[in-house]
């Protein structure tokens, strides 16, 4: 009963904070924390052994190129094919950036606003969950019918895929109301906007960054998928093109580019988390 009286507010929050994984998940891939020289060496060694071993085995067993190309062929294809590939890379990145910017911005604002009104949040959440769990790729043929074969349907699909991810994670962050910290700001005369910018947003920041990261990765998947479904441009479209021609080294060169994009996104948000949300990790 006494809890209602405000005596125990900080305890409430501590419990809540403890149950929140926050950025801890970012460390799962081993990028977190300091790594010794030995660990770095072993990681590089593993890569060398795996790539070299694959090359060797493919050569020994004389595996045909159309089943599995050798690593050396993939790298060679990446360089020879680059002049034809980079315009498609630009298109894919453009779709990803624009779609993610639109979806992420809407998702963030929606999360910030909705969490202030518990009733609205309860009503809206099931529909957001529906958006999160439904593969937006399924909508692409429909979007193409309406918007044609340009970038628009794919940008919309990216926004639809990334927005709900950003929203649902940011909302989790904004829901961590620390009444004592808000009271602290109010006691120094803070207005609603200041409470938002100085307390609520920094408090939600670890989860916002997780949302941005997951959302952008989902955006990348959706952009590639949408390009494979329809249209004549983008790295996804090139994947279908090269696989139809059984030009496997080129096909795998694109997979390599996509892997690099994915890792870059991850590293960027990891760095952002270190910068803005390291207090929780």
């Amino acid at each position: 009963m006494e809890r209602v009286i405000g005596d125990k507010i900080p305890e409430f929050n501590r419990k809540e904070e403890a149950s929140e994984p926050g950025l801890a998940g970012l460390n799962a891939f081993g990028l977190g924390g300091s790594r010794t020289h030995l660990e770095t060496l072993v990681i590089i060694l593993v890569a060398v052994v795996v790539i070299g071993g694959t090359e060797l085995l493919l050569r020994i067993f004389n595996v045909p190129q159309y089943i599995l190309p050798k690593p050396s062929q993939i790298v060679a294809a990446l360089f020879t094919e680059w002049p034809f590939l980079w315009p498609h890379l630009v298109i894919t990145l453009y779709e990803l950036f624009v779609g993610f910017a639109i979806g992420g911005a809407i998702g963030f604002v929606l999360a910030a606003v909705i969490t202030q009104f518990p009733f609205v949040e309860k009503v809206v959440t099931p529909y957001i969950l529906l958006l999160v769990t439904t593969p937006m790729l399924a909508l692409v043929p429909l979007l193409i019918l309406r918007f044609g074969f340009g970038s628009e349907p794919r940008i919309i699909a990216v926004a639809l895929a990334s927005g709900p991810m950003v929203m649902i994670n940011s909302a989790t962050g904004f829901r961590r109301v620390d009444l004592a910290k808000i009271a602290l700001a109010r006691s120094f005369g803070a207005n609603t906007l200041q409470i938002f910018t100085k307390i609520r947003i920094p408090m939600a920041m670890p989860m916002i960054i997780v949302g941005l990261m997951v959302g952008s990765i989902f955006g990348l998947l959706t952009a590639i998928g949408a390009e494979m479904v329809g249209g004549a441009e983008g790295l996804g479209n090139r994947l279908t093109y090269y696989s139809a021609l059984i030009r496997m080294p080129q096909f795998f060169a694109i997979i390599l580019i996509l892997a690099i994009i994915g890792i870059s996104i991850y590293i960027f948000f990891y760095w952002l988390g270190k910068k803005w949300a390291s207090w929780e990790a």
Binding site: M1, I5, G6, P10, A180, A183, L184, A277, W279
Partner: protein, 266 residues
Amino acid sequence: MAAGASERPKMTVEAATKFYATRSGSVHALDKVSLDLREGEFLCILGPSGCGKSTLLWSMAGLHDLTSGQIRLGSEIIVGPHPEIAMIFQDANLLPWRNLAKNVALPFELKRRRPDMERIGRLLERVNLKGFENKFPRELSGGMQQRASIVRSLAVDPSVLLMDEPFGALDAFTRDEMNLLIQEIWMETGKTIAFVTHSISEAIFLADRVVVMSARPGRVAAIYDIDIPRPRPVEIQTQPDFIARVLEIKSRIDHGRVASERLAIV
């Protein structure tokens, strides 16, 4: 009565009554609580948990509305946070994403004023936190965190300090240190302080007057004048006179509790 305390009320609480609406019904937290916080005085509000002492303090800070009754600062009715009143919370309540310097600068930021670096520097020096400006709260001990929060509140130079069980989470030794420090700061600055605690000896050690509250609903059960001369050393807590005061207040609280339990049974 010690130091600069006068009979003039700095803050007046008049018939403060508070009901909370909860899921399981309405909770009667405060029942017609009336008391004066005198200019320059160190007042301790003492009571068992759930007696509404924090509610009373939060209402004085303008952070809670009252159901009925009135709280005034001088002649001004308190309806919201007031620049003359600063609150010090349980567990320091520092923002974990800001370093010490930025935590202390928060009140200035919220008031859109340039931080008074000279005053902040002097205060940090006073509480032995000089050189820790770039540390984050998690890198500081509990006592250091609470000292930082005291600096944060004093930095904007309020005339009233409201302290909500500020040292409750500290170990006994750190708690003694903090009690000495807050006594010194009070004697140096002449601030008016209302200090909520559930430790009888802490209340007697610090206070000019101890307000004892009873629980459910919160009422003022008794007010004790503590005329022990200052500065009071920590060892004073082992002296017979001090212990006699503790026992007197303790029996008063126990008595009150028995009475209310009997009521509950009826």
